[in-house]
């Protein structure tokens, strides 16, 4: 098992209910998993727990044979080898695109670092933007820089928190396709969070639906959601909320 989470428990201080409740699931290497749920259902929290940015109250988590946490250990986030694309990208405003990407690279020669940066920039099709600062980029470009930055250190696992939520629809569709291509090309295991079933459908090998911090269903996109609405001409795109509301 590449990634294994058992009985994950978490609650924010002062909140009466568990934000993440008895959460268990496994992921195979190279799989792209989508976590689908209403806003407030605990998706971001789950990602932060996997990343090591929050401290779970109980449970265990191993990644590629390494213990990330269990009763006795808690591996600091920087030691986990997990990459993350934040919902609002969190690009360092005082660093150029290239500096942002170089920041996460492990110890290697300056030349190798530059090379790697070029590679990932190429992957996200942003060659020529090295010297720009984040605020000089469009939303879509920022998103791709954030992705390149997260991919550059070749993480064992990539987490993406609603990576398309800040983009307009056209861009969403295009980037969604790009993202799948990039992930598959880099053979990256990825978990991404969304509230939009189209995103989930288009990207995921498997979908985990969660509600109130609990797993509701796990399955392949076609099993869970049926045929993607965007694949049928003339059909309107509806969101997960609308779907649930039916």
């Amino acid at each position: 098992m590449f990634m294994d989470i058992k009985n994950l428990q978490f609650s924010y201080p002062k909140s009466p209910l568990n934000t993440v409740d008895n959460f268990s699931f496994t992921v195979e290497k190279g799989e792209v998993i989508s976590i689908l749920g209403r806003s407030g259902s605990g998706k971001s929290t789950l990602l932060r727990l996997i990343a090591g940015l929050e401290m779970p109250a109980g449970g265990a988590f191993t990644l590629n044979g390494k213990k990330m946490f269990c009763d006795k250990t808690f591996l600091q986030p920087e030691k986990r080898g997990i990459g993350m694309v934040f919902q609002d990208y969190a690009l360092f405003p005082h660093m150029s695109v290239e500096e942002n990407i170089l920041f996460g690279l492990p110890k290697m020669s300056r030349k190798d670092k530059k090379k790697r940066a070029q590679e990932v920039l190429e992957l996200v099709e942003l060659i020529g933007f090295e010297k720009r600062y984040p605020h000089q980029l469009s939303g879509g470009q920022q998103q791709r820089v954030a992705l390149a930055r997260a991919l550059a250190p070749e993480p064992e696992l990539l987490l993406l928190d609603e990576p398309f939520s800040n983009l307009d629809t056209d861009l969403q569709v295009k980037i969604r396709g790009d993202l799948r291509r990039i992930l598959k090309k880099a053979k990256t295991t990825a978990i991404f969070v969304t509230h939009n079933q189209n995103d989930a459908h288009a990207l995921a090998d498997r979908i985990v639906k969660i509600k109130d911090g609990k797993i509701e269903k796990i399955g392949r996109p076609c099993d869970l959601l049926g045929v993607s609405p965007t694949e049928i001409p003339g059909m309107v795109e509806i969101t997960y909320e609308e779907l649930i509301g039916v």
């Binding site: 401290m55 600091q76 986030p77 990459g83 993350m84 934040f86 609002d88 969190a90 405003p93």
Partner: protein, 543 residues
């Protein structure tokens, strides 16, 4: 339990150590609350305490109010609009901070009193002898005027840094929702800058509470007066410390109330897409008004007193010994630079601790260090002396081992003075740093750690550069504050260690304001250079 220990790292240890060190001298004051009541206490209570608290509260309330109005309005103008002279005013409006309030008080009184330039000119050139009552600033409103002029930059500086780095989309989205500038100001700007306004205003309040120079000269009786009357007059230091301790109690009370009021309303900035706010260019009458407003404030709070000081320097030229001026200036710069540097380093450690260890205790603990700033400097000085002499006694075997013949080593060195500055001005630096940490939030930190950077690397590569503005403004505030600090410097310095501030005090305390003008002007000069240099540094960062 192990998992909790994961959060107890170097930061925590460093921060707790620093807080303990800062707090140590205050302990001897705080315990003063419990000292037995002396025979003077009844007298103090009946004749001093209650009357004096009233004027203290009046001063504090109105000074806070006016400094917020002026500081915030200026910060908003500068952060959001472009108008003639804006770039100059952006940093020039900080300059009044370089004038010690008591020098400001002497200077303003010097300008408008009977022999001052206004009445003199009216009398001699226009043959008008105005009613002297119009020219009396030696009263409570006058003191509020003085404090407001020379303390508003605390609010201005801290709030402006906050606002100008505030995510533009917040304000822009308000604008797209069809809100006018006034509505945006009250509905958006005011609430989001609350933390920095409170931060700046609380510095003002503490400064007013601990000041003695202005109120003594003006003959206003405040809580400080009660402390000094009890000590100097009645010769009862214990009772004076008891009073100071009660003052600390009041300050703690205010802090707690403020925390409670703020409650869960910690504003987190929902976006990390920090983008400089594009300036709105003002035109026509609005531009004239904006320029006029800043010019008036700048003139009244800086230009006019400076011109008067220059006039006095010329008048007393040759009468005041000049040969050692360089020596004093050098001393001032050394102690202020070292003190400010240490305050900022300590603030960063404690600030990061408070942010990372997400616990109520870690948020409130650093706040307690402001206690050292709430009471008159001399009382702090006594506490510091006591601590250092105890330290020297403790280290006596070491000194002997090293072959030193003196029993007092630390307590006669510059070390004691610098430590005292750090204890006193930590609150100022910390306030600025805390605002900085507040502003950047934890998202960038998380992002950095997800990229494999450990806590230390994240701190130096992400936090510190992103907080450059806050760090620099904190440094300037502390630097300037130490430059003009008097009571600690007077008593805690090594022999013969004169600074510009002690020189200014030497003359002013003997009613020789004209002779004090030279040193005062140099304080202003050094501060101005510091403010200007750092302003330049800030501006050259990438857009």
């Amino acid at each position: 339990m192990n998992k909790h220990l994961a959060n107890v790292n170097g930061w925590t240890i460093g921060a707790v150590l620093i807080i303990i060190l800062l707090f140590l001298p205050n302990v001897s004051i705080v315990t003063g609350v419990f000292s037995p009541v002396s025979e003077n206490w009844a007298h103090i209570k009946e004749f001093m305490l209650f009357n004096y608290i009233k004027s203290s509260l009046t001063l504090v309330f109105f000074t806070a109010l006016f400094t917020i109005i002026i500081g915030l309005s200026l910060a908003w103008l500068i952060a959001q609009y472009d108008f003639p002279l804006r770039n100059f005013m952006k940093w020039a409006l900080i300059l009044p901070l370089s004038i010690p309030p008591f020098i400001g008080a002497y200077t303003y009184h010097g300008i408008i009193n009977y022999t001052g330039v206004i009445q003199k000119t009216l009398r001699n050139h226009f043959d008008v002898t105005p009613n002297p009552a119009y020219f009396d600033i030696m009263n409570v409103p006058g003191a509020i005027f003085i404090y407001t002029l020379f303390l508003y930059p605390y609010v201005y500086m801290i709030t402006r840094i906050f606002l100008s780095h505030q995510s533009a989309s917040l304000i822009e989205s308000a604008r797209t929702l069809g809100k006018g500038p006034l509505e945006i100001f009250f509905k958006v700007v005011l609430p989001i800058s609350r933390v920095s306004i409170i931060g700046g205003a609380s510095l003002v309040v503490l400064e007013v509470l601990n000041d003695y120079g202005v109120v003594k000269y003006f003959g206003i009786q405040t809580f400080s007066t009660a402390i000094f009357q009890t000590w100097f007059g009645l010769g009862d230091l214990d009772a004076a410390i008891k009073l100071a301790a009660s003052l600390m109690g009041i300050v703690i009370f205010i802090l707690v109330i403020e925390r409670l009021l703020r409650g869960g309303k910690q504003f987190s900035y929902s976006t990390t897409k920090v983008r400089p706010l594009p300036l709105v260019r003002l035109k026509g009458r609005k531009a004239v008004f904006a320029t006029l407003y800043t010019v008036v404030i700048f003139s009244v709070a800086f230009l006019i007193p400076i011109l008067q000081l220059i006039d006095w320097v010329i008048l007393t030229y040759g009468k005041v010994p000049m040969q050692d001026v360089l020596f004093y200036t050098k001393n001032s710069v050394i102690v202020a630079g070292l003190g400010a540097f240490l305050v900022i380093v300590f603030s960063l450690v404690v600030g990061n601790f408070s942010r990372v260890v997400n616990h109520k205790f870690a948020k409130i603990l650093p706040k307690l260090t402001v206690l050292g700033y709430s009471i008159p400097g001399v009382v702090v000085a006594v506490a510091v002396i006591t601590t250092f002499i105890a330290l020297d006694r403790f280290l006596a075997p070491v000194y002997q081992y090293l072959g030193m013949d003196s029993e007092l080593v630390l307590s006669v060195s510059l070390f004691m003075l610098i430590s005292a500055y750090v204890i006193r001005f930590f609150a100022i630096g910390y306030n600025s740093i805390e605002t900085g940490f507040d502003k950047i939030g934890t998202d960038f930190r998380d992002a950095s750690r997800m990229l494999g950077a450990n806590s230390l690397r994240t701190f130096f590569k992400i936090d510190v550069p992103m907080m450059k503005g806050a760090i620099i403004s904190g440094f300037i505030l502390v630097f300037v504050d130490i430059l003009k600090e008097i009571p600690l410097t007077l008593i805690l310095r090594p022999f013969n260690y004169d600074t510009l501030a002690t020189k200014a005090f030497q003359y002013a305390s003997d009613e020789k304001i004209m002779e004090a003008s030279q040193a005062s002007l140099l304080i202003v000069g050094v501060s101005t250079i510091a403010i200007f240099v750092f302003h330049k540094l800030l501006r050259e960062e990438p857009k």
